[in-house]
């Protein structure tokens, strides 16, 4: 299922409608998230569950603020499954999906950033 919506209302509220700050946070999401997702993939391949869980955990606050339900659900699933250390294959599949969904969300954010006013 493809979810092509983002809702940055929480970020807007948390940022006191500070346009510059919101843009800097969105850009930071674009810059760092793919790298962290790749790192998760590598850690999962090495069966380093602890590192995978930690990285999923690290992504959670920023993903929450992007208001994309699919991305959020995927991350939570990876977190829960990997924490149980039972199904490495399933984790890897989910991380691959997470990577695709991250790119979708990043494209949506880029579109959003083209707007004159975000708030």
């Amino acid at each position: 299922m493809i979810n092509n919506e983002i809702n940055i209302d929480r970020l807007i509220i948390a940022s006191n409608k500070d346009e510059d700050f919101i843009r800097s946070m969105l850009n930071l999401f674009i810059d760092r998230t793919p790298g962290i997702v790749n790192e998760m993939k590598e850690a999962c391949k090495k069966k380093d569950h602890l590192r995978t869980v930690k990285l999923a955990h690290q992504l959670k606050p920023s993903v929450d603020m992007m208001g994309n339900d699919r991305l959020r659900e995927l991350l939570l699933n990876i977190y829960e499954i990997t924490k149980g250390e039972s199904n490495c294959k399933k984790s890897l599949e989910l991380i691959d999906t997470l990577s695709i969904q991250t790119n979708i969300v990043i494209d949506l954010i880029k579109e959003k950033l083209k707007q004159q006013k975000l708030t």
Partner: protein, 452 residues
């Protein structure tokens, strides 16, 4: 401009670090600094933050390891743990270790952090106020500035006080009422290493006998009728500081043995309690009684006497301090003018002479009362002899207290009545039933005596 409240935020998630830093900085009174690793923040501890927030699971170390290192550096720096998980046992463990608070990463984190900062600022303000007050009290009781006296007797007292300040020895102060025993005790405490600890003064004579034990050692709830709550005693209150037991000579034999136990064991047991608590208290005692005499009368335990004797400091009565009386009077004039925000009055030379000639059964306390009254009575900017009013003593024992020669007593009687009748020699001669030539002769003698 007031110093900003410095917050170090330690968070390995760059996104969340930026978010928190932004929030803390929203208040211009705060300044936030972000750190991605524990190692980095440890390197910067010397810059003394007012608060550190720690992400529970950092890349290079966990909060529990880091908190130990921060506490080891300075236990006064509050540390707040910010965690992605709500784990009660972890939170409790970290709070036990010394964390100030534990908050979970969610939409309320920002508000909770702001509240914590608000409370800490109030605490920092209170702590600064307490430090300032403590410094003020220390200055107030700095005996080198507050206690006046060039007489050999007082110089000896100051010398002994300095020795007491440099050690932790028990001090026993003796002296007539009003000679400044509590002032000496405070001077020793606030000059010593214990100055930041409490100074607790207990007047043994002012506490009803049946309450002394509970007052000194505290009591457990229900230990006696009326003990509705648990209460700590004066010894426990003075822990880390000094306890001043005034009028120790008035303590009954039963309580003397309990005090002796405290001195020997350095621990106290509450009334109705089964366990003992260790205490670290310096003891200063004072009495106007001659304890050796009390010991001989079997009113005071010998073992306690020697335990309490420690460094004995004997305060001389004011009448034996010569010109110190004038110096003290001048100090009291200065104190009064500061307290009442008035220009300090000067002391007329005849007034100084009048002050020296009096015997002060109430000692320094009485001198202060006389000076306060004299300032109030003075009309100009000078204290004149007539402004100095000595309270007439009714008791013959008080009059004869200082054991002077008959000649000196006669001079004092003449002075008293001359003052009373405005130097009307005829009237004084009539009242005392003596000839006026006798008064003239005595006045001449007195003048010669004064010149000597």
């Amino acid at each position: 401009m007031p110093e900003k409240f410095k917050v170090f935020i330690v968070e390995d998630d760059e996104w969340y670090l930026k978010m928190l830093t932004y929030h803390v900085d929203l208040n211009p009174e705060n300044i936030a600094e972000g750190y991605l690793t524990g190692k980095e923040v440890l390197k910067n501890l010397h810059r003394r933050p007012d608060l550190i927030t720690l992400d529970y699971s950092l890349g290079d170390s966990n909060a529990d390891v880091l908190i130990d290192k921060i506490i080891e550096f300075d236990a006064e720096i509050p540390v707040v743990i910010i965690s992605g998980q709500e784990n009660v046992s972890t939170a409790l463990e970290l709070l036990k270790k010394g964390a100030y608070d534990y908050i979970v990463k969610n939409d309320d984190t920002k508000d909770r952090l702001w509240n914590i900062i608000k409370h800490l600022k109030e605490n920092v303000g209170l702590k600064k106020e307490i430090t300032q007050l403590k410094q003020e009290v220390t200055r107030k009781y700095d005996f080198s500035k507050k206690m006046v006296g060039d007489s050999p007797a007082m110089q000896k007292v100051f010398n002994l006080m300095q020795k007491a300040i440099n050690s932790n020895i028990t001090v026993s102060i003796t002296g007539e009422t009003g000679t400044g025993k509590e002032m000496v005790a405070k001077g020793i405490h606030y000059g010593s290493k214990r100055k930041n600890g409490p100074f607790v003064a207990v007047n043994m004579a002012a506490i009803p006998t049946e309450l002394v034990e509970s007052e000194l050692f505290g009591h457990e709830k229900g230990s006696f009728t009326g003990a509705t709550t648990k209460r700590i005693g004066k010894f426990e209150e003075a822990n880390g500081g000094t306890i001043f037991l005034d009028e120790i000579g008035d303590l009954n034999l039963n309580l003397q043995s309990k005090i002796l136990r405290v001195l020997q064991e350095r621990e106290i047991t509450k009334v109705g309690g089964n366990t003992s608590n260790a205490i670290d208290v310096r003891i200063i005692v004072a009495t106007h009684k001659d304890l050796m005499e009390e010991l001989q009368k079997n009113n005071f335990r010998e073992d306690l006497y020697y335990r309490l004797l420690g460094l004995p400091i004997k305060l001389p009565p004011l009448k034996d301090r010569g010109n110190d009386i004038v110096k003290l009077a001048q100090q009291f004039i200065k104190d009064f003018s500061i307290e009442n925000e008035i220009e300090p009055l000067s002391l007329n030379p005849d007034s100084a002479k009048k002050l020296i000639s009096y015997n002060y059964p109430g000692n320094v306390r009485e001198l202060k009362a006389i000076i306060d009254l004299a300032i109030v009575m003075a009309d100009g900017n000078e204290i004149l002899p007539e402004n100095i009013i000595f309270t007439p003593r009714q008791s013959i024992a008080t009059i004869l207290h200082s054991e002077k020669s008959l000649r000196i007593y006669t001079y004092e009687i003449i002075r008293f009545f001359l003052e009373k009748y405005n130097h009307n020699i005829l009237k004084v001669a009539e009242v005392l039933d003596i000839g006026k030539s006798t008064i003239y002769r005595l006045l001449k003698e007195m003048e010669e005596n004064d010149q000597q």
